[in-house]
């Protein structure tokens, strides 16, 4: 563009755009200023354009609140299906040799180990609860099975002056047996869970962490 070129309003506004983008050259700038000097309407337009650009840039990018990400992470459906889905080498048809077009494999050994930890904690908790209940039950049984005169504390009628009948004793014995049966079932279940989930977790068929392709895809990223 010639510095002395006379431009019309449409051309002037094009140059304003270039100026806003920082792409105007010296000749364009001279032509624009020359036009603006004689054109009040373009001058007003340019002033407004600059003001709006500054205002928009002051609005600026917004920062995503941390709470959004935290909430997002709690909503991720990390299911068994999701866990196994991408560990299959044929899951997306990619061989794992390309890098630019590689996709991320889901989910992760981290997710698996996290799930195992949750199961382990649950099993240990169950086992502890069963142990406490068992201890209480044994104590109760010892107290109930001792001869009447030798029972500790308030069970001794001679001490407390309470008259314990034979039917009361039979009822207590029945309840103690029921409690033992219940505790036995809980203990068995806790032991089974502990053995299955913690001590010897089953190797997932077809989507274990050592499946071929998984490592490849992990390494791609």
């Amino acid at each position: 563009m010639s510095p002395t070129e006379i431009i019309d309003c449409a051309r002037a506004l094009e140059l304003v755009d270039r100026q806003l983008d920082g792409e105007i050259d010296e000749a364009g700038l001279v032509a624009l200023e020359s036009h603006l000097a004689g054109c009040p309407s373009c001058r007003a337009e340019v002033q407004l354009a600059r003001r709006l650009q500054v205002g928009l840039r002051r609005l600026g990018p917004q920062e995503c609140p941390d709470s959004v990400v935290a909430s997002l992470m709690t909503r991720l459906p990390i299911s068994d299906t999701a866990l196994g889905r991408d560990q299959s080498p044929q899951s997306d048809g990619r061989s794992g040799t390309q890098s630019a077009g590689a996709v991320v494999s889901f989910p992760t050994p981290d997710a698996s180990s996290s799930q195992a930890r949750v199961q382990a904690a649950r099993s240990v908790g169950l086992a502890l609860a069963a142990t406490v209940l068992l201890t209480l039950a044994v104590s109760l049984w010892v107290a109930m099975s001792a001869p009447l005169g030798e029972r500790p504390g308030e069970l001794q009628p001679a001490v407390n002056g309470v008259d314990v009948s034979a039917s009361d004793l039979e009822q207590a014995e029945r309840e103690a047996r029921l409690a033992f049966a219940y505790l036995g079932a809980i203990t068995k279940r806790a032991t089974q869970t502990l053995r299955n989930d913690v001590l010897s977790p089953p190797a997932p068929a077809g989507h274990g962490s050592s499946a071929p392709g998984m490592d490849n895809e992990v390494q791609q990223r």
Partner: protein, 174 residues
């Protein structure tokens, strides 16, 4: 990989949130959209190449925001907008005293309203280019369109924005 997913989230969360915020003009809705978009990324993780994650996210953010707008069907938000307090968070550094602060907040609110009222494709182009200050090339990659097309959209968007701004000011003055 969960870690890789988290990296992608960390890298793009501001862009997604910011775009939704200016597209919708509402912080709470922008937060919802941001979560929805990244949940969709999780469920489509297999089919989204890393090099295309940004443009994929932007496309989904626009679509999700647009769907939300259609459901909302709320017009004339400038009149009913009660988020004035948010504006003070936008650029406190540029608003040094109470008087300027009030003027700056009003100006910012008008600008946001004008941007929200722009039709597509000008709104997306203006948000990315003028507010997010991305280069034309970056905008072109995000919107998956040629650079010259984006330049035309921004040029037209600026002109529309000026017209809207003058209209809003005329309404406020009356």
């Amino acid at each position: 990989m969960l870690e890789q997913y988290e990296e992608v989230v960390a890298q793009h969360k501001d862009l997604v949130f910011s775009f939704a915020y200016y597209y919708l003009g509402n912080r709470a809705e922008a937060e919802d959209v941001t979560q929805d978009v990244f949940l969709k990324l999780w469920s489509h993780w297999d089919s989204v190449p890393t090099h295309a994650a940004a443009s994929w996210l932007n496309r989904v953010t626009r679509n999700t925001s647009f769907d939300l707008l259609r459901r909302r069907k709320t017009k004339n938000r400038y009149v009913v907008d009660t988020e004035a307090s948010e504006l003070s968070e936008v650029a406190p550094d540029h608003l040094p005293d109470p008087h300027d602060h009030a003027e700056g907040a009003e100006f910012a609110r008008q600008l946001r309203y004008c941007v929200e009222s722009l039709p597509e494709p000008y709104r997306s182009a203006m948000i990315l280019r003028e507010i997010q200050e991305l280069t034309y090339r970056e905008v072109s990659e995000l919107l998956d369109q040629p650079v010259n097309t984006i330049k035309t959209q921004v040029h037209r968007g600026r002109k529309l924005l000026r017209e809207r701004f003058l209209e809003v000011n005329a309404c406020v003055a009356n």
